[in-house]
């Protein structure tokens, strides 16, 4: 299983290092456990095209069978990366997307298709707001 996961990630990495759809760039992939990608939303006035958003992928040993953990990262400076305003993205960067959930995940997806999905999710957004209440409620309930 572990061998299959790294084999597949290796193949994906070679493909990503070749060509990528517009607005998606590979930032770093130091190993086959954690990658960072930058995405830009090209045609939505809420998110100016000059703003890039940093995504962090964390792959488990059983990667293509299980979904990777994908979150937005906030980097204070050099380069500055913010967490995009979206009703389904919490202020801590967690993304509410069925694709990343164990029910919605399918092993056919890959890093590139996840990036495209998130890109289109942001591109179709019309409300520049955050529903942070939900996750605050979670936190309160957890404590």
């Amino acid at each position: 299983m572990a061998g299959m996961s790294s084999k597949r990630l290796q193949k994906e990495l070679t493909k990503i290092q070749g060509t990528l759809p517009p607005g998606i760039t590979l930032v770093s992939a130091p190993d086959l456990r954690e990658w960072q990608m930058d995405i830009a939303i090209l045609d939505n006035p809420i998110y100016p095209p000059s703003d890039h958003y940093r995504l962090r992928f964390q792959f488990s040993q059983s990667y293509p069978i299980e979904a990777p953990e994908v979150v937005f990262m906030a980097i204070p400076s050099n380069p500055e990366r913010k967490i995009p305003l979206h009703p389904h993205i919490y202020s801590n960067g967690i993304i509410c997307l069925d694709l990343l959930d164990s029910q919605g995940w399918s092993p056919v997806h890959n890093v590139e298709s996840i990036c495209i999905s998130i890109q289109s999710m942001l591109a179709g957004n019309t409300k520049a707001e955050r529903e942070f209440d939900t996750w605050l409620v979670w936190v309160v309930m957890a404590n």
């Binding site: 597949r8 193949k11 092993p107």
Partner: protein, 601 residues
């Protein structure tokens, strides 16, 4: 295993005896279950049979385990091998991204996956299903189940089986490239790098197939390069991929380096990698190869200025540290100074009970006053509270205190008038940094020694700081004194020198005069002797002698007076020099005296 009972059952039926069946238990046994049912054997026999079955089962299990343990080459996962021939992306399983391995077509949507991939995918999120594995198609999410093997096209199987792959032992050195369907046979039968059992006597350890003919290689040796102890048969693997002292080939610069240095080499020392300009920290963004980086560094302004910038930065840091230290010192000194002022203008009365009432009587304390109350224990008397205090005796106490600034002022007038009408004697010298409130608050009008809760939290610390500042003052005074002393001694030395010069000059004058007088007297004596030598002139010569003697006496007395004048002048000069205060007055006096001496001469 599953086939054995079926194939064996006819033979078993011909051999009904119990002893015979026990005799050949070596080949895979399992006695037939039919026999006990058919024959009417006793209960004892049935128990024996069960025991026999049990033994057979244990034995076969042991043999299976041994066979599995001796199989040093596990079945190859074809999804993990490297493919040599290029393959179409349509032959790729969307889950593992490899050419299909044992492809299976789903019933509803005809999407194709590797059998293992789709099993793994469905196992994770669905439980056991009696109708066989089923789930949603990973590609189109249609509910489906696995199609039969015949549904998969033979053409597809042939295409994927014809792909050429590298031997899985290629990392160990096998250069074979075989068709994918043959790779398992290659490893099991032909590959020289696959493991087999050692041919040596009493040795069951694994050895590579190509080394098996060399006899038993399971003895310890040590690597010539890194001195690591290991077994002989592992040495080749060690040299190939493990030894840190082996030579490896750098792919970027085409040179050989030690494996242990490869990491550093590929990051820093390799001449083919690009390194940043030395002025990177100061704004140069260029990156170039190591050889060209030096050329760039010669022309790059940032790189040239980098050491200077670095030096400046270091100096700035140093200065900052020094400044911080100085400001801390300054704070300490200031607090000491404040404490000194407090001591010079001591509080008139202890107001601890009054201050307690101040909290209640004064509704709004300024933050500065709050601090004063909090940080300095009893050095700052809170006069405001005294005035607010309506006790007439306390008020009278304040009236009689010597430094009371406003003995006649009433509470109302004070609050309306911020400037003190009769300030204390030292109040005028102060820089007046006080607010209205603190003006009212302290009789001498001094702020707390430290602002913002400084290091002096207790009276003991206060005293110590005062002591320190006093000591500083003392040392300052002593330096001033010594400086003054030095100046005065220099002055007197100068004056003394001049005086001595003049005295010696006068002595020379006196000596010259003496010589003249001597010459005159001797000349006159000779003349008298010459006259006395002629008869009849003795009386006159005696007379002249008397006159000459008188003249000489006059001259000698004049000289002696000059000498006394000189000594007098010297004394005056000495007095002038010794008197430190009136040295300036002494100089003209002495000059006058010396003029006197000269005129007398």
């Amino acid at each position: 295993m599953s086939r054995s009972p079926i194939s064996r059952s006819p033979r078993e039926s011909q051999e009904p005896t119990f002893t015979r069946s026990r005799s050949h238990r070596r080949p895979v046994p399992t006695p037939p279950p039919e026999t006990p049912r058919r024959s009417s054997l006793s209960a004892e026999m049935r128990g024996m049979r069960r025991l026999e079955q049990r033994r057979n089962m244990e034995e076969s299990h042991y043999l299976n385990c041994k066979a599995r343990a001796q199989n040093y080459n596990p079945p190859i996962d074809l999804r993990l091998v490297d493919y040599v021939s290029p393959y179409d992306s349509n032959l790729m399983c969307p889950i593992c991204r490899c050419p299909f391995v044992d492809p299976v077509v789903l019933t509803e949507c005809d999407h194709c996956f590797c059998r293992d991939c789709i099993r793994q995918c469905w196992n994770t999120n669905s439980t056991y299903n009696p109708l066989g594995p089923r789930g949603n198609c990973p590609t189109c999410r249609t509910p489906a189940k696995l199609g039969s093997r015949s549904a998969t096209s033979k053409i597809l199987l042939n295409i994927v089986d014809d792909l050429v792959v590298k031997c899985p032992k290629s990392d160990d050195g096998c250069k074979a490239e075989v068709r994918r369907c043959e790779v398992q046979d290659h490893v099991n039968i032909y590959c020289g790098y696959a493991l087999v059992e050692c041919l040596g006597e009493n040795c069951e350890l694994p050895v590579r197939r190509k080394d098996a003919a060399q006899g038993c290689l399971h003895y310890g040796v040590s690597c010539l390069l890194c001195r690591k102890e290991l077994q002989k048969w592992k040495l080749e693997i060690h040299w190939r991929s493990e030894c840190p002292d082996r030579r490896v080939h750098c792919e970027t610069c085409k040179s050989t380096v030690f494996a242990r240095d490869l990491d550093e080499h590929s990051k820093q020392t390799c001449p083919a990698i690009s390194i940043p300009c030395p002025g990177k920290a100061f704004g140069c963004t260029s990156r170039s190869r190591k050889g060209q980086a030096e050329i760039h560094a010669k022309s790059c302004t940032f790189a040239k200025l980098a050491p200077i910038f670095q030096k400046q930065q270091d100096r700035l840091d140093e200065q900052e540290v020094a400044q911080r230290e100085m400001s801390r010192k300054l704070q300490v000194l200031e607090s000491g100074f404040g404490a000194m002022r407090d001591i010079l203008n001591p509080p008139k009365e202890d107001t601890t009970p009054d201050r307690r009432s101040a909290g209640s009587t004064r509704p709004s304390l300024s933050p500065r006053d709050m601090q004063a109350n909090g940080t300095t224990s009893s050095f700052i008397p809170n006069a405001q509270s005294n005035f607010d205090f309506s006790d007439p005796t306390a008020y009278a106490d304040l009236m009689v205190s010597p430094h009371q600034p406003r003995p006649s002022a009433s509470t109302a007038s004070r609050q309306s008038d911020p400037t003190p009408d009769v300030p204390g004697p030292r109040l005028t010298d102060l820089p007046e940094p006080f607010s209205f409130d603190s003006d009212l608050a302290s009789p001498a009008g001094f702020p707390p020694p430290t602002t913002d809760g400084g290091p002096y939290a207790s009276p003991l610390h206060h005293l110590l700081s005062m002591h320190e500042s006093l000591r500083d003052e003392m040392s300052r005074i002593s330096t001033v004194l010594s400086e003054l002393d030095g100046r005065h001694s220099m002055q007197s030395l100068n004056e003394n020198l001049r005086t001595r010069e003049e005295i010696s000059y006068m002595g020379a004058q006196v000596a010259g005069l003496q010589r003249q007088v001597h010459w005159l007297t001797s000349a006159q004596l000779q003349r008298q002797q010459g006259r006395s030598g002629t008869p009849g002139a003795s009386s006159s010569s005696a007379m002249a002698d008397v006159g000459a003697g008188a003249g000489v006496e006059a001259a000698v007395s004049a000289v002696s007076t000059a000498a006394t004048a000189l000594t007098g002048a010297a004394r005056v000069a000495n007095v002038g020099a010794s008197g430190s205060g009136n040295g300036r007055d002494g100089a003209p006096m002495r000059r006058r005296a010396s003029e006197e001496g000269r005129t007398k001469l």
